[in-house]
């Protein structure tokens, strides 16, 4: 049963999914659920159900681990002492220029919005990553979920046969696993580190498929008997049951992790780099209904040799991202898939003695493409040398609110943690409507 944020329904605020589902299952007809009951009826109609599935929204986060330079990507400063050796190039959107290191992206800016005015204030890797992953500063006694976990919770389906949140990490990324914080492990990422195939997803060879299935059925029988007349807080008992019910589906999704079944022509387009292959897997995931995929590319932390580093990494980003966007578009997925480039921070305009750029959180850039985004736009402006934000200064909170709104998620929604309401975007922030459709 899907929970939708599409135009077909409005979210039933302050009614939890589980509450809704169990009430629905019990055939409750309380007035408060009427709206959702109509959704249930909608699902009985197969053509509408297919339509809803098509409208399932997704996010692919391209995480530029270590901190990519805004000057060598989205916010070049030609002719300034801070500008570096590379030139800006014009894009297919009149008036927008980006670094010449991204020539392919320059040819397909019609779906992308650039934000050049992030000012986030945390300049160490751990702190910066935590801020940009969760959209808010750390707080004692409360572990906030990251973007993937929130999206998994908001866009995922309770009985989903595919993972809700998949995170690919590159070996040099600094071992950040992501966290579902107070949302709990139900929304934690399926995390791929050593291999491209997730852990424990494959049936043991020593066990036949029929044994695997029938013992699960026997287990299910015990579970149903046990659950009769029993209620648990937060329906943790139900979560145990649904975790086991999802096993076979998740196992069947193993093939999503393999690009062997992709036509040679598609594989050739993406090319052989690990990042590109992971982007291709991300596309396969999105196509299969996974709400959130993070693909990390490392290591952009160019304290020395900034320009060589960016020459190499930008080429990979430029190619992989533009192929991914083309592929999504051709499959009709781009309008419901938001592709984000983000990092823990940007890099200093000042070029240091090792021809490097250091950590810089004062004025840097991000890009948003696809779902809900007004393409071909630039929001915010830095000053001549890129030292400060001149216009449209925003923080991580505003960016998150923008992402939520682009996906049709109520950015002012609150989660109840204990008795404390926690808004999913940071307190008092608003989305940037200028980049939204």
């Amino acid at each position: 049963m899907a929970r939708f944020r599409s135009e077909l329904c409005r979210p039933a605020e302050h009614v939890s999914r589980r509450g809704f589902l169990s009430a629905a299952a019990a055939g409750a007809t309380a007035a408060g659920f009427a709206q959702d009951m109509t959704v249930l009826d909608v699902l009985k109609n197969p053509s509408l159900a297919a339509e809803i599935k098509k409208q399932q929204k997704h996010v692919i986060l391209l995480w530029l681990a270590g901190g990519a330079s805004q000057l060598e990507t989205w916010d070049p400063k030609p002719g300034r002492p801070t500008g570096g050796p590379f030139l800006p190039i014009s894009t297919n959107v009149p008036g927008i220029q980006i670094s010449e290191l991204l020539p392919k992206m320059a040819g397909r800016m019609q779906d992308t919005a650039i934000i050049r005015s992030l000012s986030t204030g945390i300049g160490d890797h751990g702190g910066g990553a935590s801020l940009m992953e969760t959209g808010r500063r750390k707080e004692p006694g409360l572990q906030h979920p990251d973007l993937g976990a929130i999206i998994a919770r908001e866009l995922g389906r309770a009985d989903s046969q595919v993972p809700d949140y998949v995170s690919f990490y590159a070996s040099t990324e600094g071992r950040r696993k992501g966290t579902s914080g107070y949302l709990g492990a139900r929304y934690a990422p399926m995390f791929l580190s050593d291999s491209m195939i997730p852990q424990n997803i494959r049936r043991l060879e020593s066990l036949s498929d029929i044994d695997h299935r029938e013992r699960a059925d026997l287990r299910d029988l015990l579970a149903r008997r046990f659950a009769r007349g029993r209620h648990s807080r937060n329906n943790v008992l139900g979560s145990h049951t649904s975790a086991y019910q999802r096993v076979r589906g998740i196992m069947a999704s193993e093939e999503l992790f393999s690009i062997d079944n992709e036509p040679a022509a598609v594989r050739a387009k993406y090319g052989p780099t690990q990042f590109a292959e992971q982007c291709l897997i991300a596309r396969r995931m999105v196509e299969a209904g996974v709400p959130f995929v993070k693909v990390a590319r490392a290591w952009w932390d160019s304290h020395g040799q900034n320009f060589e580093t960016h020459q190499e990494l930008c080429a990979d980003l430029d190619h992989s991202m533009s192929v991914l966007l083309d592929d999504l578009e051709q499959r009709g997925l781009l309008e419901n898939t938001l592709v984000i480039t983000l990092a823990e921070f940007g890099r200093t305009p000042k070029i240091n003695g090792s021809l490097g750029r250091d950590h810089f959180a004062n004025a840097w850039s991000t890009s948003l493409t696809g779902c809900g985004i007004k393409g071909g736009t630039v929001y915010g402006k830095t000053d001549a040398d890129g030292q400060n934000v001149a216009e449209g200064k925003i923080g991580a909170g505003e960016l998150f609110a923008t992402i939520f709104k682009a996906l049709g998620i109520d950015y002012e929604k609150e989660y109840l943690v204990g008795s404390r309401p926690i808004p999913i975007s940071d307190f008092g922030v608003h989305p940037i409507d200028a980049v939204l459709t």
Partner: protein, 560 residues
């Protein structure tokens, strides 16, 4: 509930509670009865009686009917999980179920509380509460184990964690609580408030608490001031600077100097000491040296220690209500599945307890009986209320969790689950023999070690905990786990079942070892069908898959 304070009413209700529940409760309109201050049940009543008394009052008032008592097998499973941290062995279950002794319940509680199991389990629970989510070197766990074995009282533990002396080897490991948080004043302040006083003050850092009149920024910074001088030396010892304050800005922009203030509003003033500029400089230099120089002499304890002052205040007769209520509530939550105050870090006027008098009674009892947690735990597990079935029977709405009229369904901690799986997958004859013989202490220690590895693969349940699909995948497809849980050897369950020829006896045995009960008739039928069908592909494999289904069923995953 909250208005039921007079003895007269209590008496009346106790009397009525003995009658059938259909009795018209309109008799019990008590709103107009004048409320006398603190008319609690007498202090000399046994804990279990006080609990049953107050919960019954609540049932009458809420017009709910409690579920019936759990079966004997259900009770020993619940109690063994709560007191020993594992499921009972087949031998333990049978002995209890077969006993007709009128004191078997008390006897079981006392046996478990005195068994080596209790100290391990109580230690594990305290560790989960205090430090398990932080990095630590394991010394704290040893410290807690010693303390649990001695039944060291809660106020002593608190005092040692706050003000233990580095040079005292008994007390030193207790400081790990603060050391793990020394890098963040917010963590020191908030974790201490949450864990020892049941109060999350973090909301009041940036503004006066939006929901609770009790907490203002003065309280947050007043509490923080007790910790602001605390620091770690280069030698990783805990020290306090001789001076130091906090300035903060109120939401209206006013700059304020924090004053030492406890949650109750009680303030302490620091004795004024005139210091010359040179003295101040020398002090600052000394602190700097302590932080940088591993060879610096032992840091001096300042004449005025804010942390010692905090302990004194928190345990003082006027202000100890936070300290005693917080731990009573935590222990209650551990055993009953929900706090009398829920959530347990919101002990304040805007979030009243479900049973205020019970909380007060238990807190008074604890504070006046030397903060003896074992005594409190014993009292709770001997109450009739503890032994209520977790299954709601009959028509009608399920009573709210805050009435405690239906037993709770609680997910096991990773350690409880791992230990239970180890016990369940042992050869029932052998493990039963050990558990009643003198060799158990050693075996239990081994089990504790063995359980650590598996427990580490299972997520610690926090707020809003949900079992993740990763756990289900781990149990479904992980080769090491299958190999160990379903091992075919004489000392293990699968090996012992293999030698049972009679299918019904085999099924019976498998249920007893894993679910601590006999199968129902229709379960026997279903399992026979399964075995008959699966045996075609090999008998051993059929037994293995049957055991797998039992081990992964929610009945083993939860305490119910």
């Amino acid at each position: 509930m909250r208005s039921c304070r007079s003895i007269l009413v209590s008496f009346l209700v106790s009397f009525l509670a003995t009658l059938p529940f259909a009795l018209p409760v309109t008799l019990l309109v008590v709103g107009s009865v004048p409320v006398a201050a603190a008319e609690l049940l007498p202090a000399d009543r046994p804990i279990n009686e006080a609990i049953d008394h107050y919960l019954q009052l609540g049932w009458v008032e809420a017009k709910v009917k409690p579920s019936p008592q759990v079966s004997g097998a259900g009770l020993i499973r619940r109690m063994t999980l709560d007191l020993a941290g594992r499921i009972p062995t087949v031998g333990e279950t049978r002995a209890f179920v077969d006993s007709s002794s009128p004191t078997r319940w008390t006897g079981l509680a006392d046996r478990l509380l005195e068994s080596p199991d209790f100290a391990y389990h109580h230690r594990n629970q305290l560790d989960l509460l205090l430090l398990a989510t932080k990095k630590s070197d394991g010394e704290f766990r040893k410290y807690l184990l010693t303390a649990a074995r001695e039944n060291r009282s809660w106020d002593v533990l608190f005092r040692q964690m706050m003000t233990g002396r580095e040079e005292n080897s008994d007390e030193k490991p207790a400081l790990a609580f603060l050391k793990a948080r020394a890098g963040s004043l917010d963590d020191l302040t908030n974790d201490t408030s949450v864990l020892f006083f049941g109060v999350n003050v973090s909301c009041a850092k940036c503004h006066d608490h939006p929901l609770v009149d009790d907490w203002t920024q003065d309280h947050f910074y007043g509490m923080a001031l007790f910790f602001t001088r605390t620091y770690l030396t280069k030698k990783n010892t805990l020290a306090e600077k001789p001076t130091g304050g906090i300035k903060f800005k109120t939401t209206s922009g006013e700059e304020k100097q924090a004053r030492f203030m406890f949650l109750t509003g009680t303030e302490v003033s620091e004795p004024k000491v005139e210091l010359s500029a040179e003295q101040r400089k020398a002090m600052a230099a000394e602190v700097k040296r302590q932080m940088k120089d591993a060879k610096a002499p032992v840091a001096k304890v300042p004449g005025f220690s804010p942390r010692a002052k905090l302990v004194e205040l928190a345990l003082g007769a006027d202000d100890r209500r936070f300290f005693s209520r917080a731990i009573v509530n935590r222990i209650w939550l551990r055993l009953m599945g929900r706090g009398i105050v829920d959530p347990p870090d919101q002990l304040h006027s805007a979030n009243p307890p479900s049973h205020p008098d019970l909380l007060d009674w238990l807190a008074r009892d604890l504070a006046t009986r030397g903060y003896d947690l074992k005594r409190l735990i014993r009292g709770i597990v001997l109450s009739d209320s503890y032994a209520i079935s977790s299954r709601h029977v009959g028509e009608g709405e399920v009573p709210g969790a805050e009435t405690f009229a239906v037993g709770s369904v609680r997910v096991l901690t990773p350690r409880q689950y791992a230990l239970s799986l180890l016990v369940a997958t042992s050869n029932p004859d052998r493990v039963s023999l050990e558990a009643v013989s003198g060799g158990w202490a050693k075996r239990r220690e081994q089990l504790e070690g063995e359980a650590g590895g598996l427990a580490g693969k299972i997520e610690l349940p926090g707020d809003n905990f949900q079992v993740s699909v990763d756990e289900a995948l781990l149990f479904s497809n992980n080769d090491q786990l299958q190999a160990s849980l379903l091992k075919d050897s004489a000392d293990r369950l699968v090996g012992s079942l293999k030698s049972i020829g009679d299918r019904r006896r085999l099924i019976d045995r498998a249920f007893e070892a894993t679910l601590s009960r006999s199968p129902d008739t229709d379960e026997v039928v279903e399992f026979e069908v399964f075995l008959t069908k699966r045996e075609k592909a090999g008998r051993l494999s059929a037994i293995r898959q049957m055991v797998w289904a039992l081990l992964t069923s929610p009945e083993l995953r939860f305490n119910y």
